[in-house]
Amino acid sequence: MSFPPAPQFGDSILFAKPSVSEKSFTTSQGKVIKLRRKTRRDDVAVTWKHDESYGIDINKLLDLVEASKDQKSVISRPGSKQRHQSILWTEKWRPKTFFDLVGNERTNRRVLKWLRQWSPLVFGETLPKAPSTNWHSKNDTISEDPLLRPNKRILLINGPPGIGKTSVAHIVAKQAGYSVVEINASDERAGPRVRDKVYNALFNHTFDNKPVCLIADEIDGSVENGFVKVLIDIVNHDYKATQRLISEGSLKGKRKGRKKSFNLLTRPIITVCNNIYVSALDKLKPHCEIVTFNRPVENALLDRLEQVCRKENLRLDKKALKEITELAQGDIRNCLNSLQFLASNDCSDPSFTSDKDDQSKDTSLSWYRICNKIFKRDPHVDTRHQFKSLLRHVEANSNFEKIIQGCFTLYPDVKYSDNGVNKPSMLSDWLYFNDRMFNSLFEHNGDLIRYSAVVPMVFFQHFSDIANKEDLRIKTNDYELRERQKSIADLLKLICARIPIGARVYMDRESLIQEILPLLDYIIAPDIGKIRNIQLKQTILNSVVAAIEGLGLGFGETNEAEVANVICIDPPFHKISILDEKRLKEVIIKRPALLNLILAKVQESKVKKRTVSRVLKENENASVANKRQKTSKGSNSNPIEFFKSQYGTMQKKPDNQSVEEANADNTSENVRIWVQYNEGFSNAVRKNVTWSSLWQ
């Protein structure tokens, strides 16, 4: 006996309205199961917004895709007859709906998901709960936004040119029901002007009742970072407003929140850029949900191109298409352009492909491709010819520094014929030549730099071989080197700043790096495990502590490597001083035990110092107090006490000389006594004090 499958989450049964045809049947256990009939959905043209949810049925989605494809092909077929029209194909075949997008499905969906998170605020919808619970609960704890907005208010899409970042942004925004306002590099984007524009777009209402989604295109292009600054301002204002909203929302309800709502960001912002590492974007990045687009997979791209070819009645075989995609390196826009070019020329013959080298390569060959080419000698081509074409590539690329750096990195790994190291030593002269030529950049306006193009040819002449592969990977050591140097230099600065000034004047950078720190490394880590003599141990420890304190070093915890929270010296100077890997490991493994000992010693000495200084201070205080007492003739410093004693002496006087008793009384009546009250404080006042209050 088979059970009917339990209705799955996301199955359309859940969403179907209860229909009349309901059946129930009883299982062997006597359980009654009610069944409803599926209602068929014929309306394909249902908008996405309606039924897009996390619980969507994948089969239905695929149906939808198919249906929409059919529809589109019906529309576009009549247009395909006339080939020579004035629209660029890149515009014509720009994807119109979400289903048209090629490749990057996952990232596309990420964009859509982010945008959907705005829906509760913008459209007042509630999002369906996501089925996978653990993911969602994690997300839930983070987002405590009262308006249910996504945590990162701005979406930052980045990726190489021509893979449809702008298209995705537009389509997704449209799909989600927004009207798009685009600001791109063609617009004036300096400071206040753009501020007005952005604020208009974000905080005002539009005519068509659709909410606005701001798409800021090409934000890395602008040299002036005024635009980015505006965006950051918006986010910061929004953050503050949100904070206020949260705090006030809990106290006074919504009354005040409305007044400030101008600062709240209530519309999504999507930003698009090619290079995410531009320094102008550094400050924006932490506020952004960053989505990186990669080049689409070749197959997806090929399918798309074939589709276009079919629609445009352009006959091209698969090989040609493949070559086009390879040339474009995943740039769809570029592919479409070349397709249109082919179509207009009507030259869908193979001659195109053989000639491609000369047609489009000039600028598109990147430096690492050139490097690989240099080491690969083609046995079928005349050497002279190859030399010529290579030279042309190198000159066209003109990024000599990178090419030569790449060649330099590669040459020990490639195969070439040589006895001993003659060729590398000969090469050093050429590299020197290159270095001098490159220096002309700073001296002679770079007139000489073009001679650097010769140096890669030296590599070609001496190191190229038929046996070499063409896809060698080049590790760019140069960049890494610079980064490491920078971090070490920063560390050094930090250490330098902590050294007490009396010692610092005697040290310069060089001596710190070359002498003091490397030897200090040995000084602070003596091997004291073996020492039996306790006294000796103490003297050594004392010296170590002295060294550590003399350089103002502290203690901290590492959180790198496998073992977390291991004690180490605080500015981690071992990074500067130690080059040997074995010793570097010791820092983590062996040293902590010793450091704990030292730390205890340091604290001990600190406590000792503190008590000593306290005792000294007390002594000093006591002596000062003594002095004061002597100077004030035994009277206390307290004003009231002072007056008391004064009064006492005054009272005593009359006792001694009873004759002047009356006079003394008179004078004490006349004299007004001023008492300083709260002197030195802001509420200090001068006021008359009654006599009696002095005895209170």
């Binding site: 490159f438 050094l492 490394d521 003399g550």
Partner: protein
């Protein structure tokens, strides 16, 4: 509470240990304090230039010169960039280090020095003033560390200031070599060469420190340390401390000399180069070189140490000559170019070629 180097650093002219003649000379300078000329102290690293300079100031102004503080000064470049510079100063002098300010040292020199120079010092030490005619401490001293890294512009800016305001300001410049100091500056200064201590002087100092710290040591080890430190007293003292602490405060003549890691790496590399003359070795050397450069060891120092290490391991005189020739060629290339890794590797490749033939 500090390293032994700092602990045993002499603070007064009388306490200075090595090169006695120079000490007498400085003492005579300090006795005629009002006639102190501009000074240019030059000499190798670790020979005690700064120590002498501070001791001289102490002799002139009293121990107040050791009451140091740091001010942050702001300067504005012509292109309206703000520069911040830490200036170490005492009531009687101030110090600047050109490498802190990069390319803008001219502006700093101009502004800072003029500012100092245009203010006359008011002498509060009436006691000493009456003895020397009340003019002794009218000037303030400016110490310029690493004067050899001053740019040409900055040196030119210095020229006139040195003459014009010599009433109020005295310069003491410290540098390793004089070759990059322009002639007009040299002619305005009293040049004082500070030689590094001889081995026997170094040994005396080491012995004294050992006695004070309670380190028992055999005499030969001092010789070794002095040899390895190459006349660099700072290095010698640091090595001594490191060795003493690592050897339970008793040094035997057989104890291994502790060298900085980077030096050890270079020595190893030199051995490797002479043994294995192949491209594979070259690749290994390259990664080592990258490592050294990343640790901010100057390329020039790498080349120098490597060349010396190679020379030590080679016996043939013609080979020695060849290595020296290579080293000097590539030293020039390092100086003129700005891609140290090319030239360092080139040097290694050349040496491999020369020694294998």
């Amino acid at each position: 509470m500090s390293l032994w180097v700092d602990k045993y650093r002499p603070k007064s002219l009388e306490a200075l240990s090595h090169t006695k003649e120079l000490n007498y000379f400085l003492q005579s300078l300090s006795s005629e304090a009002r006639d102190l000329p501009h000074l240019l102290l030059y000499g190798p690293n670790g020979s005690g230039k700064k120590t002498r300079c501070m001791a001289l100031l102490q002799a002139i102004f009293g121990s107040g010169v050791y009451k140091l503080k740091i001010d942050v000064r702001q300067f504005t470049t012509p292109s309206n960039r703000k520069l911040e510079l830490n200036v170490v100063s005492s009531p009687y002098h101030l110090e600047i280090t050109p490498s802190d300010m990069g390319n803008n040292d001219r502006i700093v020199i101009q502004e800072l020095l003029k500012e100092v120079a245009q203010v006359e010092q008011v002498d509060f030490q009436t006691g000493s003033a009456s003895e020397s005619g009340g003019l002794a401490h009218r000037y303030k001293c400016v110490i310029i560390n690493e004067a050899d890294s001053l740019t040409r512009d900055a040196q030119a800016a210095l020229r006139r200031t040195m003459e014009k305001y010599s009433r109020n300001i005295r310069l003491i410049m410290l540098c390793d070599t004089m070759s990059s100091i322009i002639a007009p500056i040299k002619s305005r200064c009293l040049l004082v060469r500070v030689p590094s201590p001889t081995n026997s002087e170094t040994i005396d100092i080491l012995e004294k420190v050992c006695k004070d710290e309670g380190v028992s040591a055999e005499a030969e080890i001092f010789n070794k340390i002095a040899d390895s430190s190459n006349g660099n007293l700072r290095n010698a003292l640091l090595t001594l401390e490191a060795m003493a602490l690592n050897n339970e405060m008793s040094l035997k003549s057989t104890s291994a000399i502790i060298r900085p890691d980077w030096l050890v790496v270079i020595l190893k590399m030199a051995n490797h180069i002479l043994k294995d003359k192949s491209v594979g070795c070259l690749v290994e050397c390259r990664s080592t070189l990258y490592d050294l450069l990343a640790h901010c060891i100057p390329a020039k120092t790498i080349l120098q140490e490597l060349a010396f290490a190679l020379l030590k391991n080679v016996n043939d005189d013609t080979l020695k000559l060849a290595i020296m020739k290579c080293a000097s060629t590539f030293d020039e290339r390092l100086r003129l170019g700005n891609k140290p890794i090319y030239h360092l590797e080139g040097f290694i490749a050349k040496v491999m070629c020369e020694t294998s033939s």
